[in-house]
């Protein structure tokens, strides 16, 4: 039904984001297009929907039911977009009109694409809302009154309004909690059979789609590098990148490995002759650097790799397992009965309702919870950024909840902080040298020690220490490098505690395990206590010695990762484990 042949496309003249892609989506099929940021997967979706921005270009062919989509003028899209091809755009839940009721938006969509009268369209709107398992009461609501998951369901209903034959969903689960993600994906797969539509799902989350898609296409640097049936790809994939990507997604199974692919994806304008993945590939040989491999039939699917026939198992560095349990005498952080209540005129929110927590030297404690669980608030209390309503929090024998002014700042300087957003947490006008030196300046460390200590922090964080790198501004660093600079900055003043708040969540999947590995090494080598705050149970499993599961401001489960996964004490933990486990099948 959708046939893409030799598609080249890009946003600026001469720079191709997609370089020669061939894909087919058959009637009623679910094709998952998987890749990391910059792989070109969203660009393919934009071509299929005719939404390339001004200045964008495309050559080659993309046919939908025999109709050519490439080079189609805007006027020619009216009968297709929303009508025959439905769209769930990236961030769709934030893309509803803020000033119209849900009903009005659905009715508009129905009437745009069908000849339905107003009463018929209203009836159809009710039907659509039920189709996505929402109560019809949402029809009267405005988007700001709905939760993220509900809004995403509304966006799906909107995509179905024109009774399309193909739906393109771009990252349909971004920004949702794990359990909600699973439900939204289930809904999409269900609609595929009940509504008889084909789905093109674009995602960075390979494991989530394995059980749901029919076929999976993996993209890297503008090319499809592997195309295979979803049910066999885990065992039969050939391309080292696919293998790396699978290993880089942290599974909740205790005995699985969590690995990172070293390096980062090449920028669009790199001039590489050979395989684009070769610089990061552990099994690359000379041929890989000289000529670019083409997609060929291999086993049950297609792969583009020179070494595909060699049956190699590429070894990617994985996160080391947790160390021996720490003795209670070594406790550095002690939090007891901590409560934080936010009061506004409209409502009172209990962010933390009596939380106990401890972290020992050299221990990594994972604080796991979904958004709104209070995990970030916990971190902010320990950082001295949020005064608790009641309770105690002690760092190295100092009670911090009552500290103010100079004494608070002195304690803060002994705690390192890695913020979740590596793009916003580095001052855009400061270079690496100045960024790393900031805590030293604040701690009144003599200037002649700055260079030495900066260099040691940079190497500890796995970064180069040469002059060229020190002079770089954050804009010229990759996401992974930025987060490592943030780690180096947190380390430079020799902290006793490191708080990493969702430190991996905004990074590419393939580099996440690398950050966790660095944290593990620091905990072991420097006897650093680490609080690893995350929403991802799988990552916490592999990165931490002990887990604390937080839900709506309360600790519902705590213990070693293996125990939590095998015998969860609370139904919520069980639910989390179950949702995570469904991805490993």
């Amino acid at each position: 039904m959708l046939e893409i042949d030799d598609l080249y496309t890009g946003y600026a003249a001469g720079l191709a984001a997609v370089r020669g892609v061939d894909l087919r989506v058959d009637r009623g099929e679910v094709l998952a297009l998987v890749g990391e940021s910059g792989s070109g997967k969203s660009t393919v979706a934009k071509v299929v929907l005719g939404l390339l921005p001004d200045g964008g270009w495309a050559t080659g062919s993309a046919r939908f039911d025999g109709t050519e989509l490439v080079g189609r003028p805007e006027s020619g899209w009216r009968s297709l977009r929303g009508n025959r091809i439905g769209a769930i755009p990236q961030g769709a839940m934030g893309g509803l009109s803020p000033v119209h009721r849900i009903e009005a938006q659905l009715v508009e969509a129905v009437r745009l694409h069908t000849t339905a009268s107003r009463p018929a369209a209203t009836a159809r709107a009710r039907e659509l809302v039920r189709l996505v398992h929402l109560d019809t009461s949402v029809l009267r609501a405005y988007p700001h009154q709905l939760s993220g998951g509900m809004r995403q369901r509304v966006a799906i209903a909107l995509a179905l309004a024109g009774e399309p034959a193909l739906v393109v969903a771009d990252e349909p689960t971004t920004g949702l909690d794990l359990i909600t993600q699973e439900r939204v994906l289930d809904l999409l797969v269900e609609l595929r059979s009940t509504q008889d539509i084909a789905l093109l799902v674009i995602s960075h989350d390979l494991p989530a789609l394995l059980r749901r898609a029919d076929r999976v296409a993996v993209m890297y640097a503008g090319k499809v590098v592997e195309l295979r049936s979803a049910d066999v790809i885990r065992n039969e994939c050939v391309h080292p990148y696919t293998k790396g990507l699978l290993a880089a997604s942290a599974s909740v199974e205790p005995d699985a490995e969590w690995s990172a692919i070293p390096g980062s994806a090449p920028p669009l304008d790199t001039d590489l002759r050979g395989c684009r993945f070769a610089p990061r590939c552990p099994v690359a040989v000379d041929a890989c650097h000289d000529s670019e491999p083409v997609l060929v039939q291999l086993g049950t699917g297609l792969s583009a790799c020179h070494r595909s026939g060699d049956g190699l198992a590429p070894g990617f560095p994985s996160v080391p397992r947790c160390g021996p349990a720490q003795e209670a005498a070594n406790q550095l952080v002690r939090v007891s009965d901590l409560r934080v209540t936010f009061r506004s005129r409209r409502r009172t929110t209990h962010a933390l309702r009596g939380v106990d927590l401890s972290v020992a030297r050299g221990e990594i404690v994972g604080l796991v919870g979904e958004s709104g669980s209070g995990k970030t608030t916990m971190g902010r209390v320990l950082l001295g950024l949020q005064a608790p309503t009641s309770g105690q929090a002690e760092i190295d024998g100092v009670e911090i909840t009552t500290l103010r002014g100079r004494r608070l700042r002195a304690t803060q300087r002994r705690v390192g902080f890695v913020h979740q957003d590596p793009y916003a947490s580095l001052h855009p006008g400061m270079n690496v040298r100045a960024l790393i030196a900031e805590p030293l300046k604040l701690g009144a460390v003599p200037r002649d020690q700055w260079n030495e200590r900066s260099a040691s922090a940079l190497s500890a964080a796995g970064l180069p220490t040469d002059e060229e790198f020190l002079r770089r501004l954050p804009a010229r660093l990759s996401g992974g490098q930025r987060q490592r600079v943030a780690i180096a900055r947190a380390l430079v003043a020799d902290p006793i505690l490191l708080i990493a708040d969702e430190a991996t969540s905004m990074l590419d999947v393939s580099t996440r395990a690398g950050i966790a590995t660095t944290l593990r090494r620091l905990a072991t080598e420097r006897q650093l206590a680490v609080l690893f705050i995350t929403h991802d149970l799988g990552e916490a499993m592999h990165a931490c010695d002990r887990l604390v599961v937080l839900r709506q401001g309360e600790v519902v489960d705590t213990g070693p990762p293996a125990r939590i996964v095998t015998e969860p004490e609370h139904t919520y933990t069980a639910e989390l484990v179950e949702a995570g486990r469904r991805r490993t099948l």
């Binding site: 939404l51 929303g82 961030g91 803020p98 000033v99 405005y142 700001h144 409209r346």
Partner: protein, 324 residues
């Protein structure tokens, strides 16, 4: 809807404070001066030649020998009974002068606001669309130009061109006034055009940048991805959201146009409050000046309240209480 109620109460208090502030300014200014209230409230510039007894007599006559508290109460009481004092120039009650001039200013300002809003928003939306396509700098340049011209000077230029040289339009006054409704539009054309042209810039610029922001916002991109045609996208989805910040400008613009009307009326010898003010300045007729200031403050507050009431109509987040 507690949130919207609280909003309304908050705005109400604000408007009352504006009025209170205006009242206090009006009371304090003439009394705080080195020349003393005798000069400003007791009869103009020539008080210096009066004898001490005469000065005392005048002070007593105006109640200026009482304590400030008493004076303030009298002042408020007089206002409540709409007693705004007498003009120095001809002894006419100030209220009469104001009542005669106010409708003219309302006519001028009212028609200018409507025109400025309609034209400014239309051009601004258009400019935003064009800018999105990398064009429309001509529109921006003209908006900037009209935003920069002093209104009274533009009035002079228009008079010179359309009155003196082309002889097409009357250049001053309102002819027969209300007695000749058919002749009014011709007299109104130049002053209204002057005010509208100089007021356009703000509306244009704000609508344009707001339109630009909305056009690149998620919900527009997504509506486009769902196949909403372009014309409908602009009309139904973008424009309404883009109008939200324009509302703030509308409030400020009301005050701006009222002020602009003062000088434009002077240029066109238009019989509104502006000319009354100008003549009052020339004659140092303080009671008249104070009264126009007070009346204009009330007018601006009323117009702001109206604009406020309409805001809730276009933004459901105000009505239903947004989470953020």
């Amino acid at each position: 809807m507690p949130r919207s109620a609280r909003y309304a109460v908050g705005r109400g208090i604000e408007y009352l404070s504006v009025l209170a502030l205006a009242l206090v300014i009006n009371f304090v200014l003439p009394r705080a001066l080195p020349g003393g209230p005798l000069k400003t409230l007791g009869g103009g510039e020539n008080v210096g030649v009066l004898s001490t007894e005469d000065q005392q007599r005048i002070l007593a006559e105006y109640g200026l020998d009482k304590s400030l508290g008493e004076q303030f109460l009298t002042y408020l009481a007089n206002l409540l009974t709409l007693d705004l004092g007498k003009s120095f120039a001809d002894g006419q009650p100030v209220l009469d002068v104001i009542v005669e001039a106010l409708p003219w200013t309302m006519l001028l300002v009212g028609s200018s606001i409507v025109l400025t809003f309609l034209i400014g928003v239309t051009l601004g939306a258009f400019g935003g669309l064009r800018r999105k396509q990398g064009k429309g700098s001509g529109l921006l340049a003209s908006a900037l130009l009209f935003d920069s011209i002093p209104s009274f000077w533009l009035g002079m230029v228009l008079i010179a061109v359309f009155g003196a040289f082309l002889g097409l339009l009357p250049t001053f006054g309102v002819g027969e006034g209300w007695d000749d409704p058919a002749g009014l539009p011709r007299h109104l054309l130049l002053p209204v055009a002057t005010l509208t042209l100089t007021g356009l810039g703000q509306f244009f610029l704000v609508t344009r940048s707001s339109m630009l922001a909305v056009l690149s916002s998620d919900h527009i991109e997504h509506a486009r991805a769902r196949g909403v045609p372009r014309a409908r996208l602009v009309r139904k989805h973008a424009l309404r959201t883009a109008l939200l910040p324009v509302h703030t400008v509308l409030m400020i613009e009301v005050g701006f146009l009222v002020g602009g009307a003062l000088v434009v009326e002077t240029v066109f010898a238009y019989p509104g409050l502006g000319r009354v003010t100008f003549n009052a300045i020339q004659a140092r007729d303080f009671p008249l000046m104070q009264a126009t200031f007070l009346v204009l403050t009330v007018a601006v507050v009323v117009m702001n309240a109206v604009a406020d009431a309409t805001y809730a109509l276009i933004d459901p987040r105000i009505r239903t209480g947004a989470a953020s």
